[in-house]
Amino acid sequence: MISLSDIPARGGSPFTRSMGLFVLLLLTAPFWLEPIGLYQYLGMEIAIWILFALGFNLLFGYTGLHSFGHGAYLGIGAYAFGLFQQNITISLWGGLLAAITAATLAGALVGAFVSHRRGIYFALMTIAFGQVFWFAAIKLHSITGGEDGLLGIPRPDLVFGPLKLDISDNGALYWFVTIVLLVAVLALWRLVNAPFGRVLQAIRQNETRARFVGYNVWLIKWLTFVVSAAFAGLAGGLFAMAQESAYPDVMSLHQSGLIVMMVLVGGGLVSFWGPVFGVLLYFIARDIIGGLTETWLLWFGLMFVIMVMVRPEGMAGLFHVLRARLPLRSRKAVGPAAQAGRA
C-alpha cells in the first residue's frame, strides 16, 4: 500500500499543476454551477468543508492521529462566531478571530490530554471529548440555545482598511470564502512540504523512532492538534456565516465520522489533495443521489465500506494506481511512487 510518505517533499513554489487546477475550479465555479443545474450555496458549502477537511488531514493523514471528534472544533468555531456577533459587536474579522481563538483554546486543552496517546486509544479519547463538547452545546441552553442552536447570525460587512463590502448574499460570500480557503490552502501546503511536514510523517510511521531521533513528539503532536483545531474553527466561523446559524448537530459523532469518511474516501492518506476529492464526492452524492432517492446515505455508506475493503487509499490512491499503469508515463519517472508526487 502506498502512503503519503511515498510522495516526495516539494519545497519551493506551491504553484504546481494540481494547485493551478484547484484554483481554476474555485475561481470559475460561480459561472458554471448554475448552468449545470447546481446552486451557488453548494459551492460555498463545499469550499468550507474543503477547508475543514484539509486542516483535519494534517492530523489524520499526515500525523496518523485518528481523531473521531473533530466536528467539535468546527462547532465551537461556529458558536464563537455567533456569540461574538450577538454579544460583543457585529464584525467579520472579530468574529472569525473569535472562532479561531475558541477552537484553538479547546484544541489546546484536549490536545494536552490526548497527545501522549496514539492508535485506537487516541481515537477513543477524541470521541469522548467530542461528545463532551456536543453534550455541553445541547445542555448549556442559556448560552448556546440548546438543540435549536443560535439563530439569526448575521453576515457582517467585509471591512478592509477604507474598503467596505457587503457580502451578505451567497454570491459575494462565496468569493470571500474562496479567498480565505486559498490563503489557508497555501499555508497548509507550505506547512506539510516544509521539514515540519516530514517530521509529522515520521511520527506517523514510527513514533518511537521519531522520539529517538530527538524530536519532542508530544509537543509536535499537540501542536498539530491545535493547528488542526484552529483550521476547523475558521471553517466553523465561515459555516456559521453561511448557515446564518450555529447548532449542535455538526458536533455529533455522526458528523465527526462523516469527515473521517470524506477524507478517507478521497484519499487523504496518500495525497494532499485527497480530502478535496472526498468532500466533492460526498456533496455530489448528497445532492445528486439524494435527489433520486431518500436513502442516499445507504449508498454512500455501502460505497465507503467497499472502499475500505478493497482500496483503503481512497480515490487519490486509485488515480495513482491508474497513472502508474500507464506505461508511457511511468518510464519517464524514477518509479511509480515518484509519479504520485505530482498527483
Partner: protein
C-alpha cells in the same frame, strides 16, 4: 442517604443493563481487536427483528400469520427473544466477512469499516421500519410498577436487570467453564498459537463475531422497552458501550462489568443532583480514568495501543 437510595438502585440496574450491552462488544474487541462501531446497530437490529416477530410481520396475511397472532403475547415474546439475537448474529457474521480484508492492517480500518456498516444498517432500518419511534410490547406479567419500602419501582426494570445478571453469569460460565470458551480466550491471547494447534481461526472469528452480535441483539430486545426504539438508537448505544470497554480495560470481562456498574452508578447519582447532566458524567469518568491509566481499570497490554 435514604433519599439517594432510589437513585442508587436506579444506577445499579442501569449499570447491569450497560454491562449487558458491553458484553458482546468486549468479546469482539478481546478476540479480534476490532472496535465494532456497528455494535449499536446490531443492538437495534435485534430489537427490530423482535418487533417484527412479535407483530408477525414476516408472514402477515397468511394463515400461519393469523394463527401466530392468536398466540398469547408471552409465547411470541419468548420466540422473539430467540429469533432477534439469531438474526442479529447472522447480520454480524456478514459484517465479519466484510472485515476480513482489514485484518493485519491498522486497527483504524476495522473501526472505519464498522462505522460505515453502522450507517448502512441505520438506513436499512429506516427503509424497513420507517423513521418513527416504535414500541416493543412486553408481556403484562413483567410490566407495570410495584411498591417497595414506600417507593415505586418499575417491574420491567427489575426484570431487565435480573436478565442482564443472568446473561453475565451465562457468558462467564461459557467463557470460563467450557472448551469453546477456552479456545476463544486463547484466541484473544495468542491467535498464532491457536492456529498452530489446528483450530480454524477464521471460523473462530466468525463465530465470536456472531456470538457478540447475538448478545448485542439480546440487549436490544431487553432495553428497547426502556429506551424506546428509533433508527438512530444504534449510535446512541454504541457510545456507552465503548466508554465502558475503555474504562474497564479492553478485552477484560470483569473490567467491563465493573466499569458498567461504575458508569451506571455515576449516571444514577448525578441524576439525583443534576438530571440534565447525568449522561455527561460518563464522559468525565472516561477522561479521568483513561487520563491516568490508559489501559483502563483491569486492562492488559493490547495491540490496539500501537
Amino acid at each position: 442517604m435514604i433519599e439517594l437510595l432510589p437513585h442508587i438502585v436506579n444506577g445499579l440496574t442501569l449499570g447491569l443493563l450497560f454491562a449487558l450491552i458491553a458484553l458482546g462488544f468486549t468479546l469482539i474487541v478481546g478476540v479480534m481487536e476490532v472496535i465494532n462501531l456497528a455494535h449499536g446497530s446490531l443492538f437495534a437490529l435485534g430489537a427490530y427483528f423482535a418487533l417484527a416477530t412479535i407483530g408477525g410481520d414476516w408472514f402477515a396475511g397468511t394463515e400461519f400469520g393469523i394463527w401466530w397472532l392468536s398466540l398469547p403475547i408471552g409465547t411470541r415474546y419468548v420466540a422473539a427473544l430467540a429469533v432477534g439475537p439469531l438474526l442479529a448474529a447472522a447480520s454480524g457474521m456478514v459484517i465479519e466477512l466484510c472485515l476480513r480484508p482489514t485484518y493485519g492492517k491498522a486497527p483504524l480500518y476495522g473501526l472505519l469499516l464498522t462505522f460505515g456498516a453502522a450507517l448502512v444498517v441505520e438506513e436499512v432500518i429506516r427503509l424497513a421500519w420507517g423513521t418513527g419511534e416504535q414500541n416493543l410490547t412486553v408481556p403484562q406479567t413483567i410490566n407495570g410498577a410495584f411498591l417497595m419500602g414506600g417507593l415505586i419501582f418499575s417491574k420491567y426494570k427489575f426484570f431487565a436487570a435480573a436478565f442482564a445478571l443472568a446473561a453475565i453469569a451465562l457468558v462467564w460460565v461459557f467463557l470460563e467453564r467450557t472448551p469453546y470458551g477456552a479456545i476463544i480466550k486463547a484466541g484473544s491471547h495468542d491467535s498464532e498459537m491457536v492456529r498452530a494447534l489446528g483450530y480454524d481461526l477464521s471460523k473462530l472469528r466468525l463465530l465470536v463475531f456472531g456470538f457478540g452480535a447475538a448478545l448485542a441483539g439480546l440487549a436490544g430486545i431487553i432495553l428497547a422497552p426502556i429506551w424506546g426504539l428509533r433508527p438512530h438508537i444504534g449510535l446512541d448505544v454504541v457510545i456507552p458501550a465503548f466508554l465502558i470497554i475503555v474504562i474497564g480495560g479492553v478485552g477484560s470481562f470483569w473490567g467491563a462489568v465493573l466499569a458498567a456498574l461504575l458508569v451506571g452508578m455515576s449516571v444514577g447519582i448525578t441524576g439525583a443532583y443534576a438530571p440534565a447532566w447525568s449522561m455527561m458524567s460518563m464522559y468525565l469518568l472516561l477522561i479521568a480514568v483513561v487520563g491516568f491509566r490508559a489501559r483502563g481499570l483491569l486492562g492488559r497490554k493490547s495491540a490496539l495501543e500501537n
